[in-house]
């Protein structure tokens, strides 16, 4: 193999291999440098794609179209159920259809700034560059984006931007984009280029001679543990926000695939960069199983406020205007209610910590549409957000048109993930990572409507090129799994399943997950400090130990067993949580979604420390969870100059 693809973790700096030259020519240059696979030879290469969300579904379909032999895996019953489907608000693209001053460079700039200068410039520029192609592709597939009466596409504004570049499909943009990718994928399944394995969960990665060569899966209906071989593996398995137990993620969203790959040698980057979304429906009680997001687009018309006086329990309509604090408008006059997510979330926490929170438990703030309704009429507001008001009413039993909604931040997204180079390849050659599962483009904070953009850029337009380049340099190995390495991993996975079933304790899996979530939310959530993080580092291993002594998983491994599925995922969260906290402890600066109380300005804003922390922290698994090895990828800002992020 050429040395070019051999990026192994070494001491010292990690090289992302971003092409040299002007930023607007980097991707073009890289594409030209790439080796190509003869179309007649593509079917000889097997690519395993794990996950069928925007990155995985789009990637599998596009690779199938190119003629590769693709096998695609999902733990759902159908690829259409991947969690990308839940994204509400929209997808950014630098089309400048509005003539309002948008450009590729501005989207790039906003994304780097929004990420609080902790993203890799080369990747972000490419993302902005590809954003327009994504909209073209989706429209061609029949995605029903919102339109103007003239038949052209409509856009709206989103947090962290002053241009209107967000394309949307009512409040169901993720659903419609995913169905576009799903339909392209089903078309390839019908054509025979992609073979789909639904209800099949990846439980480990197989590395042969230092390269990713396959995966081991469990059939969730029969329990069969099976090995699959390929020439490359793509993980597009989403994020790990469920480490907080209560999050806006789907219940099954988990870290197992990326965590197993990490244990096999892939570096894990910036695990502490987690995003807490400011506009979610507050927790209503102990029974709560998940939190529901109310799209950020609501902040276009809703005004956020709390009473000025702590302990004010009057109903909202009894609190006169003069006794209300519209704190986002007060603190950030230019962005106001459209301040970015990390800033809005922290501001909500701050007012609730001061005892000014509203609703049961005092953990909520008002999102008030009274002014917008007075100005535009209830019908207009209904037209814009009707489905969200309906959802709010279903969950809370309250009418958001009559009384202000109550919202509170909730864990929503993770910017951290497996470290990848410019080609989206991890530190294990042949292991590629796309979408939320990688760490690449959002730095320390993701802007609204950028996750869909990144997932589809990775899937449609980056992985199909970079995988080809990798495969052009390897000889097809076929899908033979009768290699000792496969047997060994298969046995390990089998043992892992047996171990979970054999504990025979007294506590349910969910009860451990809840406990972990409480530790993470309280000690490593919206605000973090040295003492709290150290406390978490004591509690997590203890909880993990308790899990392996006391967890109760009933029934067998040879059938559909939902407790067993959850148990494996929670076991991995219990390990990942420790790395997340260690990363948060080591990064003593505040940046984006990572807020260290020790590092703030006088008025409570995040204070970055570019001298010491302008790098990607990529952690290597050493065999001891408490002692991962840190590798650094230095970040250089040549086009967007380092500056204090201000939305005032």
């Amino acid at each position: 193999m050429s040395t070019e693809t051999a990026v192994r973790p070494r001491e010292g700096a990690l090289d992302a291999r971003v092409p040299p030259g002007p930023i607007e020519r980097k991707w073009e240059r890289r594409r030209f440098e790439m080796k190509l696979v003869n179309p007649a030879n593509r079917r000889k290469y097997t690519i395993l794609v794990v996950g069928t969300g925007l990155a995985g579904g789009a990637g599998a379909a596009s690779l199938g179209e190119l003629g590769y032999n693709v096998k695609c895996f999902s733990y759902h019953d159908s690829p259409r159920r991947a969690h990308s489907i839940s994204a509400q608000g929209g997808i950014n693209a630098a089309k400048n259809y509005r003539n309002d001053g948008d450009s590729v460079f501005r989207l790039f700039y906003d994304t780097v700034k929004g990420g609080d200068f902790r993203a890799r410039e080369g990747n972000v520029y490419r993302l902005a560059e590809l954003s327009g192609n994504i909209i073209d592709q989706c429209v061609a597939q029949g995605v029903p984006f919102a339109r103007e009466y003239g038949g052209l596409l409509d856009t709206r504004s989103f947090g962290g931007a002053l241009v209107s570049r967000t394309f949307y499909a009512r409040g169901q943009t993720g659903q419609q984009l995913l169905l576009g990718a799903y339909q392209a994928l089903e078309r390839q399944i019908a054509a025979g280029t992609v073979r789909m394995f639904p209800r099949t969960e990846m439980l480990d990665l197989v590395v042969v001679d230092g390269r990713a060569r396959g995966i081991v899966t469990r059939n969730l209906v029969t329990g069969a543990i099976e090995a699959h071989a390929g020439d490359a593996v793509v993980l597009a398995t989403g994020g790990y926000a469920n480490v907080f137990y209560l999050s806006t993620n789907a219940k099954a969203s988990n870290a197992t695939a990326i965590w197993r790959a990490h244990r096999r040698g892939a570096l894990f980057a910036n695990p502490c960069y987690t995003q807490i979304h400011p506009t979610c429906i507050p927790v209503s009680g102990e029974h709560q199983s998940k939190l529901t997001l109310m799209s950020e687009s609501l902040r276009n018309d809703g005004r956020v406020w709390v009473p000025k006086r702590a302990g004010d329990t009057r109903p909202p309509d009894r609190i006169p205007e003069a006794e209300r604090d519209y704190y986002l408008e007060r603190k950030y006059p230019s962005y106001g209610n459209l301040a970015p997510r990390d800033i809005s979330s922290r501001a909500a926490k701050e007012v609730c910590d001061q005892g000014r929170g509203v609703g049961p438990g005092g953990r909520g703030v008002y999102l008030d549409f009274a002014d917008a309704i007075a100005r535009f009429g209830e019908d207009k507001i209904r037209e814009r957000y009707g489905n969200l008001f309906d959802m709010y009413e279903r969950i809370t039993g309250e009418n958001g048109y009559k009384v202000p909604m109550r919202i509170y931040p909730a864990a929503h997204y993770v910017m951290g993930g497996l470290w990848v180079d410019y080609d989206l390849m991890s530190t294990i050659p042949g292991l590629f990572v796309g979408g939320e599962a990688n760490f690449s483009d959002h730095g320390a904070n993701r802007l609204g409507a950028s996750a869909l953009m990144q997932g589809l850029a990775d899937g449609y337009f980056i992985l199909p090129y970079t995988l080809g380049h990798y495969l052009a340099q390897v000889t097809p190995a076929g899908d033979d799994t009768r290699v000792p390495a496969f047997d060994a991993v298969r046995r390990e996975v089998q043992d892992g399943v047996r171990r979970l079933l054999a504990v025979g304790g007294s506590r349910s899996v969910d009860s451990f997950h809840r406990d972990l979530g409480r530790v993470m939310w309280e000690l490593c959530g919206m605000a973090r400090n040295d003492a709290g993080l150290r406390k978490a580092l004591a509690e997590i291993p203890a909880l993990r130990e308790d899990f392996w002594r006391n967890v109760r998983v009933l029934e067998s491994g040879e059938e559909l067993n939902q407790s067993l599925e959850k148990a494996g995922r929670v076991a991995d969260f219990l390990e990942l949580a420790e790395l997340l906290v260690l990363d948060a402890l080591h990064r003593t600066e505040s940046c984006g979604g990572h807020f260290r109380e020790e590092s703030q300005t006088e008025d409570g804003e995040a204070r970055r420390d570019d001298e010491r922390f302008a790098y990607v922290a990529a952690w290597e698994y050493t065999g001891t969870l408490s002692q991962p090895r840190l590798h650094k990828e230095p970040l250089a800002f040549e086009h967007v100059h380092l500056a204090t992020r201000s939305y005032k």
Partner: protein
Amino acid sequence: MNLTLKVWRQKGAGAPGRFVTYEARDVSPATSFLEMLDAVNEGLIARGEAPIAFEHDCREGICGSCGFVINGVPHGPRRGTTVCQLHMRVFEDGDVLTLEPWRARAFPILKDLVVDRSALDRIIQAGGFISAPTGSAPDANAILAPKEDAERAFDAAACIGCGACVAACPNASAMLFTAAKVSHLGLFPQGQPERWDRARDMVRAMDGEAFGSCTNMRECEAACPKEISIAFIARLNRDLVKASFRPRRAAAAAGV
């Protein structure tokens, strides 16, 4: 509030099944239906009994994973609401609720309330797409679509593929599901080239599965959590008639 649940328990595909009665105690009205079941399952696990298997994921009414029949109604009593979004405040203390899986020959039961809905994916494979290979698209605004058509297409595209329409239909027909996709794509200019073959091929695929025929019972529309209109079925039928006058596209394989 306290409720009595009669739940269909079935160990696996082909195994015999039966209703088992459970009590749900001290249920808060603010709980969602699935959270109430979570609590019942926690109690079962504590007693060493197998928890009730049911599918769910996003719990926001959009992924289409969840769904079972509550007292004869798919997704339960609240219109336009998936079971994950159904909250206990719609029930009364002392209610007796019968929970059973989707009943349709095309959806074999895998366990308890979990069924196999892969037949729906196979209908999509037969033509539920626009052939637009990655990279081949023109500029997005080069394709004009009247707003009214786009809105109507969206109404159809809102389908979450949960299968409630099939479960509600006395014939277990998948006509609403199929019509929704045919209409969504057929309402756009970019969906026209494949419009007639799509209608024919998807209906043929549906007929090839174990679904029944549509006899306009309208139960599907009433049960659909996304309130998709049966007007789309009429539209599909019109497309099928028109398609019958057109020559079939040369047997080009889908894809590649």
